[in-house]
């Protein structure tokens, strides 16, 4: 029972932490560009503001358009809840399967893309088309990276994979390095960051994620934005706990949990800082370079799997 309670509290905390993560990246980016920048908690104010605003619906909006923000947000929350964040011993561990996780993310994306096309504007359709193009390339790379990690632990369960990584001796496996690199590239593409997408742009014609949610307003927009922040946090947690798994609690002992919380928070802040740096030193890619970028992610993941089979098995 405590386990379930803890799992729920953990999910709630991550959901509440996500806007800070997004704000943190933004704040650091501003600092790196010599700008004052809004405080890291600005996204909370934005979400609050949006939630109070009137919802405007296009006359052509179907129920799918209205339902999509709730579906996207709740599916993303469920996806967050199955990922081991501070401890591998939570009862949700049984659900923590990578294929399930990828499925949840795909479900959220499916509704997001539908919502983009629902109104019938050119921008929404363009955004959806770009989103599915990119994810059709990102998803195989993501699965391949996950499979490599799973093959190490002989399980597709995230908790098992993480425990295996933490408990085995510290050896730099080439497979882990390659698949981590693949995972990071996929995460950048999937969370709509530079160089694939620019979350700060106002240029309708260049948008991917923003183009799909261009028609949303009020609480609908707040949920869509929040879901995007959650996705950023979710991918950061995955990288934090799979690439640098140390610190994740192996038991439910209060001490271990405390260490787990501190560890994951530190890792997320560091990852956020790295993201801010990488976004500052690069321009956005040409859209048609994205397949190369994701192709690289796939090749890296594939290399990870090959090196595992060739070098590490047996």
């Amino acid at each position: 029972m405590t386990g379930w309670l803890l799992a729920m509290v953990q999910t709630l905390c991550v959901v509440l932490f996500a806007p800070f993560m997004a704000g943190w990246v933004k704040w650091l980016k501003c600092k790196l560009q010599n700008r004052q920048g809004p405080a890291p908690w600005q996204p909370y104010r934005d979400l609050l503001k949006l939630s109070r605003k009137e919802v405007l619906l296009a006359v052509t909006a179907s129920p799918v358009f209205r339902a999509a923000p709730y579906v996207v947000f709740s599916v993303t929350v469920v996806a967050v809840s199955v990922v081991p964040i501070v401890s591998v011993q939570l009862p949700t561990a049984a659900l923590a399967d990578v294929i399930v996780l990828v499925g949840f993310l795909a479900l959220a994306r499916f509704f997001l893309s539908l919502a983009g096309m629902d109104i019938g504007t050119a921008f929404g359709g363009m955004g959806s088309s770009r989103e599915v193009t990119i994810s059709s390339l990102a998803e195989p790379a993501l699965l391949m990276a996950f499979f490599t990690l799973s093959m190490n632990a002989s399980s597709t369960n995230l908790s098992t994979v993480i425990s295996h990584l933490v408990q085995s001796d510290f050896i730099l496996y080439p497979s882990l390095i390659f698949s981590s690199m693949g995972l990071i590239l996929v995460a950048i593409a999937e969370t709509g960051r530079i160089p694939i997408d620019n979350p700060a742009t106002h240029l309708e014609l260049t948008m991917i994620h923003e183009a799909m949610i261009l028609e949303y307003s009020g609480r609908h927009l707040a949920l869509m934005e929040w879901a995007a922040m959650l996705k950023l946090t979710l991918y950061s947690v995955l990288i934090a706990n799979l690439v640098i798994p140390w610190g994740v609690a192996m038991t439910l002992a209060p001490g271990d949990i405390l260490v787990g919380i501190v560890a994951v928070a530190c890792k997320l802040l560091v990852l956020g800082a790295l993201l801010a740096i990488s976004e500052t030193v690069q321009a956005k890619m040409r859209l048609f370079r994205a397949p190369q970028f994701l192709g690289l992610a796939f090749i890296l993941s594939l290399l990870g799997m090959m090196s595992h089979i060739i070098l590490e098995v047996g």
Binding site: E204, K284, M285
Partner: protein
């Protein structure tokens, strides 16, 4: 860095030879002497209007502008052509009742929209014009009303609510998978309004058509009945980012018309203002181009430089954009040695910073990957559509009034004109960067050698009606102003030709083969003025 390529001029003849060319083709010309200013002027018969264009086009003479002037019961039509060292005005007269004129568009594609504009404003029908669609008129006045005729009321005919303009007939594209993307007139960013209609297949743009005119303010009509200072204040607002160049052009047109000699000191200060304006806008544009490809670092750096520069404008001249500093007969602000020092210091500081920043941008891989080969504009296209300024120079067409048809005080300095071949967005960025450095150099010369004396010369009382024309190199390119003053000193006609008239079509010409997400970059690298075009 700072590789300045000099390319040969187009094989245009000397400006003085053009009337002879026309005569040889059987078109009789008579000299017109009542338009003062640094241009030749000839009158031809209306029936030769199209033919004359064909002759000059065949001789690589550039087409610049056309405007009308209603003098009941007739309408004077004036077109401007440019040879290798100056401008020629050709004028003709048509009756205002059912006036007809052969179009020059078949010879000069650049004349397409300007002629449609004249058609809407004066009710002259251009025969053999390939495009019969309206251009500037939306729904604010009726098709049979012609706002620039003298019988059209100055206040216009405003309706309680202007109907939306939904029926503009864009040229459709058909085929499997072709779809339309309507963009604007209201954009997500804080920019001026304009509508762009894309025909695309997937991400590839087949064609782009712009529909402008959303900021039509009736500048020319507003000018009617104004006194000189009022006209110049209006001219300063034709396009806010070119306020110095437009007010200088309007002032110079008036000064030529009346015969006022502006003191050298005032001319040098005008040049200082113009170069400061050029630098500020180029800084802003370089940053904005980088922003459009998601490279925020450069955008912030260049915004900072531009902001510092504009604060100094405010400190020295009292206005961030230098509005209303150029006044008829001179300038309104004198500068002392302390201010000269300040400006020289900031110019050195800017040059120092740019020496770090520009080479970085020119070679930054992820930025250049976006800019190079994006939005290529060939030299042939540039010549065909008569594009101006940095747009032309980035494609190898190296025309700069300050060097090729210099006006005071540029006749005393050597102006280097940077130019590149290729016409990609990266070249347009580079031309801007190089032009900043050239302008800093000029600025330093003008500040160092600032002549002593008055900064203003009063206008004499007018005795008779007069008209003048002026050509000024603004930061976007050549600006033309025509002014006609009545004997009482009141303006009866003002026509400003912003370079955007000829640069907007460049955007449409370069867009073939560009993908949809690269459009904002191409647009910014051309950066036409909506306001300067819409008038």
């Amino acid at each position: 860095m700072n590789r300045l390529e000099h390319q040969g001029q187009m094989a245009a003849p000397d400006i003085g030879a053009i009337p002879g060319l026309l005569n040889n083709a059987g078109i009789a010309t008579t000299e017109v002497t009542d338009i003062k200013g640094s241009a030749l002027a000839v009158a031809i018969e209306a029936r030769f209007w199209g033919e004359a264009a064909a002759v000059t086009a065949a001789n690589h003479i550039r087409w610049c502008a056309v405007w009308g002037e209603h003098r009941p019961p007739q309408i004077d039509i004036t077109a401007v052509l440019a040879g290798k060292n100056g401008h020629l005005l050709i004028r003709t007269t048509v009756p205002d009742a059912q006036g007809e004129l052969p179009s020059q568009t078949p010879a000069y594609p650049a004349a397409n929209r300007p002629e449609r504009y004249v058609q809407e404003m004066f009710g002259i029908h251009f025969t053999s014009h390939p495009d019969g669609r309206r251009w500037m008129r939306h729904q604010a006045w009726a098709a049979e009303q012609y706002p620039l005729r003298k019988d059209f009321p100055l206040a216009g005919t405003p309706q309680e609510k202007t109907p939306p303009d939904c029926e503009y007939p864009f040229i459709p594209a058909e085929g499997e998978g072709v779809y339309e993307i309507p963009v604007g007139p209201v954009h997500a960013g804080i920019i001026e309004p304009g509508h762009f209609r894309f025909q695309a297949v997937g991400e590839d743009i087949l064609s782009l058509e712009a529909h402008l005119g959303y900021v039509h303010k009736g500048i020319e009509k507003c000018a009617e009945g104004r006194d000189l200072p009022g006209l110049i204040r209006l001219a300063a607002r034709v396009s806010g980012d070119s306020t110095v160049a437009h007010s200088w052009a309007a002032c110079q047109a008036c000064e030529s018309a009346v015969g006022v000699t502006v003191p050298r000191r005032a001319l040098s200060i005008r040049a200082i203002l113009a170069e400061r304006e050029r630098i500020a806008n180029h800084l802003g544009d370089i940053g904005a181009c980088c922003n459009d490809v998601g490279f925020a670092f450069a955008q912030i750096q260049f915004s900072r430089l531009r902001e510092l520069w504009q604060r100094q404008n405010a400190a020295v001249f009292g206005h961030r954009l230098l509005m209303d500093v150029v006044v008829p007969g001179g300038v309104s602000h004198d500068i002392g040695s302390e201010q000269i020092n300040l400006m020289q210091q900031s110019a050195r500081q800017l040059r120092h910073e740019l020496q770090d920043l520009l080479p970085l941008l020119y070679e930054y891989p992820s930025l250049q990957d976006r800019l190079r080969t994006t939005g290529m504009l060939s030299l042939d296209t540039v010549r065909n559509i008569g594009a101006l300024g940095y747009v032309a120079r980035a494609s190898g067409e190296c025309w700069d009034l300050r060097r090729d048809a210099p006006y005071a005080p540029y006749d005393e300095v050597v102006v280097t004109v940077p130019s590149y071949s290729g016409g990609a967005s990266s070249s347009r960025l580079r031309v801007r960067g190089d032009e900043i450095l050239v302008s800093l150099e000029l600025l330093d010369q003008f500040l160092t050698n600032l002549p002593a004396g008055e900064i203003w010369q009063a206008f004499p009382i007018l005795e008779k009606a007069c008209s003048g024309v002026a050509f000024i190199e603004g930061w976007r390119g050549e600006i033309i102003a025509y002014v006609h003053l009545e004997a009482n000193g009141i303006v009866s006609r003002y026509f400003p030709r912003d370079p955007s008239w000829l640069n907007w079509p460049a955007l449409e010409a370069l867009i073939g083969g560009v993908i949809v997400p690269d459009f904002p970059l191409c647009n910014k690298s051309i950066n036409g003025s909506y306001s300067g075009h819409d008038l």
